[in-house]
């Protein structure tokens, strides 16, 4: 790629105007990314605290820290906040917002004001959800299964459903914004098959956001209609069908799993190529695999219902499709691995996070095969095996990728370097803590411990103690970056434009970039990841 000449003396986006008002009314995608960063870090802290309390309680089989009602509210709070207010927005709204326009040589996203609006909608949804928690909480689990949620639960289901409903519009707005941006604002010469894989992953994610989120909105609205107005939709006593809810909910929520993991895959492609200094192996297949995961992801929701009494034949079809959707994921793992061969590998923190992603995502993906296998799922369904499996994907995969991407682009975002060694230690701590927390849960699930269990039989005690121990290590790992990033923001060394010697247009801008990103529109003349070949 042709590096654009460095910007002259224009002020960077951070120091242009330091007033609070300028931040709250900004339409600069980079500042909006920072607004999202602050918001989702807060939500992550709330959700993680809930998890910590749960793990603390599970230290003993007989609940002696809290009553069941509180425990049930904690796991609901943890799930709702993590899924809708951290995992789904995390990479797209923070890293995507900041990097996407820079990566494609644009000055901003296609609809900068819509971008700001989506942050305010997100905050409104978050505020309603927090209100529901403070006003007494909800104990339905993040899945809101009917008729429990619509008739029997006595928490603030209406408020929490409303919060998620509102936040959904912010997802739709962001998805729409990204799709239009990628279609219309690519720099001259930046053809579809020259796009970095991170852009492909954001594009696929946005498609899901736009297509699936409305279904969630409809589903939540129907719960509110039944609960508030007594109109029978899901409760059989009112003439409704409880399984209808599960179909609608998973029609959104399974694709939502891919909303959470696809951007992580995109980030990891960037990290592996940069730190191996090598072109990605199988670029086109990688791009198409991303897209096909997004599309096939819409056709597998019934695998959440193998024991729900849905038709046996539906089960047979959904199982087959679930195996099918794992093929492109497997191909990606093989391609990342092959990219390392013949590279020139350095072990900076972002790459350590990417390696962690590779290991944990592989375990998460392989254990997904167990759950796609019909007869085996009957045994493992709704046990801790499932909890472990999706945490390997969501936390092991997604959060590792988010951390890796955040470390990787931090010099660009802040204009400062972070200390190398502590970041490496944090990556390793998080990896070890994570495995210690969640690997025992696979065994618990195989032995039959059901999920969402406040009290549990004593034979599950030891493994739960190990898991809680791991959670403590994981917690330490998560606090470490807060410390060194704060230090870096205040005292860190100024970052050069391209500290990792990476390709990609975002590294041709100053660190931090000026408000308009590029003085001159860059022109792209070659493929992405144009690192020196094997002969060099």
């Amino acid at each position: 790629m042709n590096p654009a000449p460095p910007t002259s003396v224009a002020e960077d986006y951070l120091s242009r105007d330091r007033t609070l008002r300028s931040w709250l009314t900004t339409t600069d995608h980079k500042r909006i990314a920072i607004l999202y960063l602050i918001a989702i870090t807060g939500f992550f802290a709330v959700a993680a605290t809930a998890a910590a309390l749960m793990r603390w309680e599970l230290l003993s089989p007989r609940g002696d820290l809290m009553v069941s009602d509180i425990y049930n509210r904690l796991f609901t709070l943890h799930g709702v906040t993590m899924v809708w207010f951290f995992l789904i927005p995390s990479i797209p709204t923070v890293l995507g917002n900041f990097i996407l326009p820079l990566m494609i040589g644009a000055r901003d996203v296609a609809f900068p004001r819509l971008n700001l609006a989506s942050w305010y909608i997100f905050m409104a949804g978050g505020a309603i959800t927090l209100f529901a928690i403070v006003a007494g909480g909800v104990d339905t689990g993040w899945t809101f299964y009917t008729p429990y949620s619509s008739t029997y639960a006595n928490g603030n289901v209406m408020a929490m459903a409303a919060g998620v409903f509102v936040a959904g519009f912010s997802s739709i707005a962001t998805g729409l914004n990204f799709i239009v941006t990628i279609h219309t604002l690519r720099a001259p010469g930046l053809t579809w098959f020259r796009l970095p894989l991170f852009v492909w992953s954001l594009y696929s994610t946005s498609l899901i956001l736009v297509l699936a989120t409305p279904v969630l909105a409809v589903t939540l609205a129907l719960i509110m209609v039944e609960r508030g107005l007594g109109v029978g939709v899901f409760d059989p006593r009112l003439g409704g069908d409880p399984l209808l809810f599960q179909h609608l909910f998973w029609f959104y929520s399974h694709p939502a799993v891919y909303i959470m993991i696809l951007p992580g895959m995109g980030v990891v492609s960037e990290l592996v190529t940069t730190f191996a200094r090598k072109r990605i192996f199988g670029y086109r297949i990688m791009a198409l695999a991303t897209l096909s995961i997004a599309l096939l992801g819409f056709l597998v929701w019934g695998h959440h219902m193998f024991v729900s009494s849905q038709s046996v034949y539906a089960g047979l079809v959904f199982s087959l499709l679930s195996f099918l959707v794992s093929v492109p994921s497997a191909i990606k793992v093989f391609n990342w691995t092959a990219t390392l061969r013949g590279g020139s590998i350095s072990f900076d923190a972002p790459f350590l996070f990417a390696l962690g992603f590779l290991a944990l995502f592989t375990i998460g993906g392989l254990t997904g095969l167990f759950l796609a296998t019909l007869a085996v799922d009957v045994h493992l369904h709704d046990t801790y095996f499932v909890v472990a499996h999706f945490h390997y994907i969501m936390v092991g995969g997604m959060v590792m990728a988010y951390m890796g991407g955040f470390h990787y682009w931090w010099p660009k975002i802040s204009g400062r370097l972070f200390p190398r060694r502590p970041a490496q230690v944090a990556a390793i701590t998080i990896f070890l803590g994570f495995n210690l927390t969640f690997f025992p849960q696979f065994i618990l699930g195989y032995l039959g411990m059901p999920r969402r269990f406040h009290l549990y039989p004593p034979e599950f005690h030891t493994l739960n103690v190990i898991s809680t121990l791991g959670a403590a290590v994981l917690g330490i790992g998560y606090v470490m970056p807060l410390v060194y990033f704060a230090w870096s923001a205040l005292r860190g060394q100024p970052a050069p434009n391209n500290p990792w010697h990476a390709t990609g247009l975002e590294w041709t801008t100053p660190s931090p970039p000026p408000e308009h990103n590029f003085d001159r529109v860059p022109v792209v003349t070659g493929p992405p990841y144009d690192y020196p070949g094997p002969d060099a």
């Binding site: 590279g343 590998i345 045994h379």
Partner: protein, 325 residues
């Protein structure tokens, strides 16, 4: 830490394995998956580790060009994973189909789930709470219904799980192979005391089971309740006695084929009996008008289950002739 060893050993020697008829088939797939996945994960991990060492920045190792074109590798990967995946799909689907089809001769047991207990009825009207006594070697067909929210009847040792969905009856089956006590859990979150909705299956030798059955023959069974409800709720008013103009006799009904007003036929099984109490207008017996009121709302799932137990044995107690009394 002292219970870790049994946990791990339990996994390896499979102290739960073989507890039910279907268990070994499930475990065979589970362990094949475990071995295959572990092998693949270790192989990929070892290859990555080898790359990391050999191709670390600054190492003198030559960086060769790949020998084969990329699409070659992609084809191999796609083909290999697809074949392995299809094999596991096939294995899992076959056993799942077996799980869905109760073997002939399975003895029916009704399970009603409610917040937060298991209410269990044997075919002869004997009733148990949070426990189910069964003889080993006898397939049991569970007919599951819920009085409130969704529950899930899970017996990990038997590799058995089936949701109970309000508004319908779901079916599952098992056959215990070894005497023992096996925990039942509710695996679908169902409210405050979800984690206390437990029970156990007590599998006994046929002799022990008969002894237990002889001990627990009591008057307060489901059958007795059903008989009482049949009178109290007015069923007897129309369905009993010599006058057959308003309603058909129910004696000897169970298991017979019923001619319907619309010309169709239906076997008088549990599902039809339940439906005819809750929504009598849906399938009318030939020769009668749709005059019976719906008892949905008046009678709970439990009451209807008791009535069905009573109706079922009317066949044995009073075959065919008992219409003048």
């Amino acid at each position: 830490m002292n219970s870790l060893a049994p946990c791990v050993l339990g996994m390896i020697d499979g102290s739960m394995a073989g507890a039910s008829r279907i268990g070994p088939a499930v475990d065979a797939i589970f362990w094949s998956l475990t071995i295959t996945c572990t092998t693949v994960a270790l192989a990929v991990g070892a290859y990555i580790a080898w790359c990391l060492v050999r191709y670390r920045r600054g190492s003198a190792a030559p960086r060769p060009r790949p020998r084969w074109p990329e699409w070659w590798w992609e084809t191999i990967w796609i083909a290999a994973t697809s074949v392995i995946f299809l094999a596991f799909y096939w294995a899992g689907a076959r056993v799942y189909l077996r799980m869905e089809e109760p073997p002939p001769g399975a003895v029916p047991v009704d399970v009603v789930g409610r917040q937060w207990m298991w209410d269990i009825r044997h075919a002869d009207g004997r009733r148990e709470f949070n426990a189910l006594h069964v003889p080993v070697g006898q397939p049991i067909q569970l007919r599951l219904s819920s009085e409130d929210v969704i529950h899930s009847f899970a017996v990990p040792a038997f590799r058995l799980k089936q949701d109970l969905v309000p508004g319908k009856t779901t079916v599952a089956w098992f056959e215990a192979m070894r005497p023992g006590r096996y925990p039942i859990y509710c695996d679908q979150y169902c409210g405050a005391s979800h984690s206390e909705m437990n029970g156990e299956i007590v599998a006994e030798t046929p002799a022990d089971f008969s002894a237990w059955a002889a001990q627990t023959r009591d008057g307060n069974s489901s059958l007795a309740r059903g008989r009482r409800l049949f009178v109290l709720d007015g069923c007897a008013g129309c369905h009993r006695g010599a006058d057959r103009r308003r309603a058909p006799s129910l004696d000897g009904l169970y298991g017979r084929t019923v001619d319907l007003a619309d010309g169709g036929h239906v076997p008088a099984d549990d599902e039809y009996l339940r439906e005819s109490i809750a929504s009598p207008g849906r399938r009318i017996v030939a020769g009668y008008a749709a005059t019976m009121p719906s008892y949905d709302g008046t009678l709970g799932v439990t009451d209807i289950a008791d009535l069905v137990v009573y109706l079922r044995q009317l066949k044995a107690a009073a075959p065919r002739v008992a219409s003048s009394r």
